[in-house]
């Protein structure tokens, strides 16, 4: 079941890098570490990685410059930027340079892991997405905006539909609360309270109520996932 993700970490802070390398290896992923921009660039062009994790401030070549150079050479490996500059315009700058995701420091490892998993999946699947998402007997039709469970149509609010669509697109993967806030609500701030939990529990009551098989699962300390089996 576990997919091995090939990662390249470009980070100059040795202890932070050691921590991430250890954490990802413990989960069974393969991760290489480059301490500066030039090394990172060489490794990124040679090896075939699934995801690059790039610190914004690295010696010898700025993180954003590195991404720009890679994109100019049509190396489309998904890139996640780690940065201490957790500001909106910095995020915008990073994404404009060609990065795929942006995570401000300090972050929780579970958040990073979830984002990396989503990015690695994006690298593998073909860009044409199916019109109908399926998880067990739950179906979501992206075009007609219809959701059915065991053939019975479920009425969803537009936002609930978007929430479910996002969960189902990444079925089997952990989706964090911050990711939901960013992707479903386009909010880039921390709402302090458990607003997302309330939304998810509402959705869950509509999807799972009256069914033996629960599809939406809470992953403690990380977020949510939608999947058939109770792993």
């Amino acid at each position: 079941m576990l997919r091995i993700i090939k990662l390249l970490l470009i980070e100059d802070d040795a202890s932070a890098a050691a921590y991430l390398v250890k954490a990802f290896r413990e989960l069974g992923h393969s991760i290489d570490h480059a301490p500066d921009g030039i090394n990172g660039y060489t490794m990124a062009t040679d090896g075939c990685y699934d995801v690059l994790i790039v610190d914004r401030m690295i010696p010898r070549m700025d993180g954003l410059a590195l991404i720009r150079v890679l994109r100019e050479q049509s190396i489309e490996t998904p890139v996640l930027i780690l940065s201490a500059l957790g500001q909106v315009d910095d995020r915008a700058k990073g994404l404009r340079a060609g990065a795929d995701d942006y995570l401000p420091k300090p972050y929780a490892f579970s958040e990073l892991l979830a984002r990396v998993e989503i990015l690695s999946r994006r690298a593998r699947v073909t860009p044409t997405e199916e019109i109908i998402f399926r998880v067990a007997d739950l179906e979501l039709d992206r075009l007609s905006h219809r959701v059915t469970r065991a053939g019975v149509e479920i009425e969803l609010q537009p936002r609930e539909f978007r929430l479910l669509k996002y969960l189902m697109r990444h079925s089997g993967q952990v989706v964090t609360r911050t990711m939901l806030l960013e992707q479903v609500w386009d909010c880039h701030f921390d709402p302090q309270t458990n607003v997302i939990d309330v939304h998810v529990s509402r959705l869950r009551s509509k999807i799972d109520k009256g069914h033996d098989l629960q599809l939406i699962h809470t992953i403690r300390g990380a977020g949510y996932t939608i999947r058939e089996t109770n792993r």
Binding site: Q87, V88, D89, A108, C187, F189, Q192, V198
Partner: protein
């Protein structure tokens, strides 16, 4: 030492703006004064000269009338009588050949023939046995029959008058100059004293004593206004410093509490947990606490960003109403769960320039607090209460 300081002080005085202004005004003033004085002087001199020549003309006219009625004998007699009188007039009647017939001029230096017309003449008077040079204005006419008549006025009087005018003028200019320099020094010194006081106070403030204020004399002049403005700036700075201090105190407290909790739970787990499950539970707790800290830091970053105001100038055009609806939509289930109703009263679009991020964060914070600190309505029949967030 004292001398050096006073020399320095004087140097500083000369460099002050007030002194330079005073000197500038003084120069302009002097140029005007000298021009006016010259004009007045020349006018007075012209007037004097004219007066003399008019008098001469009148006298000549009178003498001519006498000559016409009484002939040369009468004229000579008249001139002799005039010459006897003490005074400053010069008289001379000569024959056509230049012989002196009457008058008080002993000898002429030229060939003895007088030119006709009005002109200045240098002559000498024997005073105390010494000949002294004098100037005179003379008018000479040639009478019918070849006789020549000369009448003159000594110019010593007018010369004296003229020199009095010039001397007075010169002195008054000097006096004006001296007065202006003194005035400049006085004004500059007064300004310098005020500025020195201000500098002294600001130095003290720079050294760290923010409670110091400039002394404000109630004269209402520009220095007074400047001092007032500076004091207001200082008030504002002091206020901000106080705010900053309170803010950092609060941060320190806010950070300390969760850190202590974190430390305590780790310590507690180490001391009393026996099983792996217990340790796991404790670690989960520790992670929760750390997550709380991360949230706190993010909020602090957000506040710092908002305080710096940097995000504002990169503002985008956004619709407040749409943003409000988005945020309300996010919080609506939470409010409902708390037994509250969240409603947005907004009729039309309202576009402003700003940061959507900050605005939605602000609205979210308001709604969040409103939900947290509202109690569900106490009436049993209607256990829902409205929250109103006004902007």
């Amino acid at each position: 030492m004292r001398d050096i300081r006073s020399v320095k002080r004087i140097g500083r005085l000369f460099r002050t703006t007030a002194f330079k202004l005073a000197i500038g005004i003084l120069l302009i003033f002097t140029v005007f004064a000298v021009t006016i004085l010259l004009y007045v002087g020349f006018c007075a001199q012209k007037l004097l000269d004219e007066q003399v020549s008019i008098t001469l003309g009148e006298e000549i006219k009178g003498l001519l009338a006498q000559y016409n009625s009484g002939g040369v004998v009468r004229l000579v007699r008249l001139i002799e009588r005039h010459s006897q009188q003490p005074g400053s007039s010069l008289y001379l009647v000569t024959s056509a050949a230049g012989e002196t017939l009457a008058g008080n001029i002993m000898s002429l230096e030229s060939d003895g023939l007088l030119k006709a017309g009005t002109y200045e003449l240098l002559y000498r008077i024997i005073e105390d046995g010494e000949p002294r040079p004098h100037r005179a204005l003379v008018e000479t006419v040639i009478l019918p029959g070849g006789f020549r008549l000369m009448v003159g006025r000594d110019l010593a009087e007018t010369d004296r008058f003229r020199s009095v005018i010039w001397r007075t003028g010169g002195w008054s200019i000097l006096f004006v100059l001296a007065l202006a320099v003194a005035g400049g020094v006085f004004v500059a010194r007064r300004v310098m004293i005020c500025i020195d006081q201000m500098t002294e106070t600001t130095r003290l403030i720079m050294a760290g004593d923010f409670s110091g204020r400039l002394t404000v004399a109630g004269t209402g002049d520009e220095l007074y206004r400047l001092a007032q403005s500076l004091n207001m700036i200082l008030d504002r700075i002091q206020e901000l410093m106080k705010g900053l201090k309170e803010f950092s105190d609060n941060i320190a407290n806010d950070l300390k509490t969760p850190l202590i909790r974190l430390r305590n739970s780790a310590e507690e787990a180490l001391r009393s947990s026996n099983s792996v499950d217990e340790l796991r539970l404790a670690l989960d707790h520790v992670i929760d606490e750390a997550d709380g800290l991360i949230k706190l830091f993010n909020t602090l970053l957000m506040i710092a960003r908002a305080e710096a105001g940097g995000a504002l100038d990169k503002g985008e055009t956004l619709d407040i109403v749409a943003t409000a609806h988005d945020v309300a939509e996010l919080y609506e289930p939470l409010a409902e769960e708390a037994g509250l109703i969240l409603r947005v009263h907004a009729e039309r679009r309202c576009e402003i320039k700003g940061s959507r991020e900050l605005l939605s964060q602000a609205l979210a914070n308001l709604i969040d607090n409103a939900i947290k600190y509202s109690v569900a309505g106490d009436s049993f029949s209607e256990n829902k209460k409205e929250i109103v967030v006004g902007v």
